[in-house]
Subunit: 213 residues, 2 copies
């Protein structure tokens, strides 16, 4: 059955999904990139995101690998698509990923500013201005019997959690403390939302927790 999933979302030990002071130069916030130290070196990410050979294998890589399986559509918050804020000045920004985005399907980007869809090496980006529920409807229609993956960031995941729309969530707790930043779970009662199973997988450089309802 088709699911709505979060995968490989990294948080610090103190619960932050991004560091403080997010900016154009620091899209993940101060020290935010450290959250992903387990993720970027994996063979899966080296290949899918950076088009490079090599990279780490092991549990962390298995987690990254699984995260791309059976995904039929993605939803991203705007900051995960790019650093541009406000109106799109032009159509030149095509995402963080260079010529070959790692998606290979429809990607729905939440934004308040309209922009035309465009296709790039098997991925089509759509810009959704009528809210997260509309984006979900479109993503589900596009994914058909595959899953919808919500890429992030933290505030996007929080919105879908609070709307009760996420079926499965894989969080990677990194051995990092940020002190402040963008909290993922604070004030969200996951038990009340029906999450009642948590499985732990020990990665080499992070701890992986799989939550389901």
């Amino acid at each position: 059955m088709s699911k709505v999933r979060v995968n490989c979302f990294s948080i610090s030990l103190d619960g932050y999904g991004a560091g403080p002071k997010q900016s154009l130069e620091n899209p993940l916030g101060e020290r935010g990139p450290e959250l992903h130290n387990w993720f970027f070196p994996t063979r899966t990410v080296q290949k899918k995101v950076f088009s490079q050979e090599g990279g780490e294998t092991g549990v962390d890589n298995d987690m990254a690998e699984r995260s791309f399986e059976n995904v039929g559509a993605w939803i991203l918050g705007r900051n995960m698509f790019g650093p541009v804020r406000g109106d799109w000045p032009d159509e030149s920004w095509k995402g963080w990923w260079g010529d070959v985005p790692p998606y290979g399907c429809d990607v729905f980007v939440l934004t308040h500013y309209p922009r035309k869809s465009f296709a790039l090496a098997g991925t089509t980006f759509h810009f959704i201005t009528d809210g997260p529920l509309a984006a979900m409807e479109k993503a589900k229609a596009s994914a058909k019997d595959k899953d919808v993956r919500i890429g992030g960031g933290a505030s996007t995941i929080r919105q879908y959690l609070q709307a009760g729309l996420i079926d499965e969530m894989h969080l990677a707790v990194s051995p990092v403390i940020l002190g402040k930043g963008e909290p993922l779970l604070q004030g969200i009662d996951l038990s009340a939302l029906g999450f009642n199973s948590v499985k732990l997988f020990a990665g080499e450089a992070a701890s992986h927790f799989w939550l389901s309802r």
Copy 2:
């Protein structure tokens, strides 16, 4: 050099050190005991806390074992000593641990209600009514060149963290979500408090994070 340590303090994935609705029947709060599912079955705890042979060995047990090493004195919040609230009705409550407490040294219990010290099988419990700083002073004097261990609970640890008095902290993140309860780190900026190193040890049933400054 003598340190002030927290060890084996269990939190849920969503950051709670105890469940909601703590009570006499439920001293750890609703579902709070699940936080310690990695801890109680270990050989170390079976022996030290329950005076039983057997129990699990492995990384979780190593963590439990290390937690008791080189400890010269303990500080406990009152609820970790017992369920009694308000004035001590009598001296009959001697702790959760039966005839042989697992400490074997001085234990300083924070309380607002005076009670006479008493000794039990190598452990002496002292009841400190003049606050956490006074308790720390006494614990350090008693521990001499060994470490002071703060047993918990969450609010006791938070007080000592905020006072900048904790040098090292080992948190065990359990594959449990509580939804609500007593948060350990919320609103505490561990980076500003000087914690800059986090090491991860993968246990069988929990993830162990060692923080130091």
